[in-house]
Symmetry: C2
Subunit: 162 residues, 2 copies
DNA sequence: TTACGTGCAAAGGCTTTGCAGTCGG
DNA sequence: CCGACTGCAAAGCCTTTGCACGTAA
């Protein structure tokens, strides 16, 4: 179900092409950030991306990380999310791959799912209300299988849950 | 379709009861903020609420607005939204009233809609993935009828859109 | 060469926190 | 009275901006 991120190299390559098409410099930093977005699993934040690069001894300034992410989003190669955590997350998009998210409220894990009927319904609903549908997002918050199980176990021994 | 906010007085009253039940002080500021959330249309931000109160010559500190909103959210009487604008919005909830949002990307207008099938589908999908569904949100971004029309008009006269 | 990018640090916008004074129950 | 709240200002967090220097093409 859940889509794997686009091949890192594929995204980097497409980003490079995007930049060249616009006569924009293809810099080391831009390529590194693009690569990190696909390399780091689970919808990384800007900070997470920067730390991933740091671990690999690649120093890129915070401002550059943000500026590059903005370019990636504009290019359509990366999707931006706000799960209400106080910071944004990013995710590489392999085209024609629409999917939504389940977010675990306990451990923060993010799982993807897709359902065509769901997507189409929203377009219809927008249409009925005379809205021009451009994009949408669907997020389900709850407990992932692991945390859900852990909850049950925690409840069993004695009496009341916290 | 779109639900009207709960009667202001109803919400204030229920909030007061909520506080009393927990032996928490029912203060003037708390009641004013609660009232403002339902009075101000269109999913106000904390700032919007504070300014609404200021216009009515009611001075409530920013911190108090935020602290009260947190209580309101915890009480379940108010829903919190993050439409990715860099700030949060709030909305009073008249119970058993589940609805989702259409957000105009041009003028920021927010329209509500509800669709039971949609809601149920998400519960089913979560279930299939062994997730415990607690809540979800669905947001459609696009152009409201007005802005959509304005766009057409703007395109008609001569050649290219801006 | 030259426009555009990068790093750095400072500034910004929203939200939270610490603390002394105040007030609801 | 006492615990909880309020206002105020400062601090926090993520993100953006200004500017001098560096670099892709």
């Amino acid at each position: 179900m859940a889509s794997r991120p686009a091949e890192p190299d594929a995204l980097v390559e497409r980003f490079a092409r995007y930049l060249r098409d616009r006569r924009l410099p293809v810099t080391r930093q831009r390529m590194e950030v693009a690569q990190a977005v696909t390399r780091v699993a689970d919808h990384p934040s800007a900070d997470r991306i920067q730390r991933d690069l740091a671990e690999r001894k690649i120093r890129v300034a915070t401002a550059t990380v943000y500026r590059t992410l903005e370019l990636l989003v504009q290019s359509g190669l990366v999707r931006e999310h706000d799960f209400g955590e106080g910071f944004r997350r990013f995710e590489s998009v392999s085209e024609q791959d629409r999917h939504e998210h389940l977010i675990c409220q306990r451990c923060g894990k993010v799982v993807e799912f897709s359902n065509d009927r769901l997507e189409r319904m929203l377009e219809l609903i927008a249409d009925e209300l005379d809205f021009l549908h451009r994009r949408h997002r669907i997020e389900v918050y709850g407990l992932c299988p692991d945390c859900r199980r852990r909850d049950l176990v925690a409840l069993r021994p004695s009496g009341a849950p916290s």
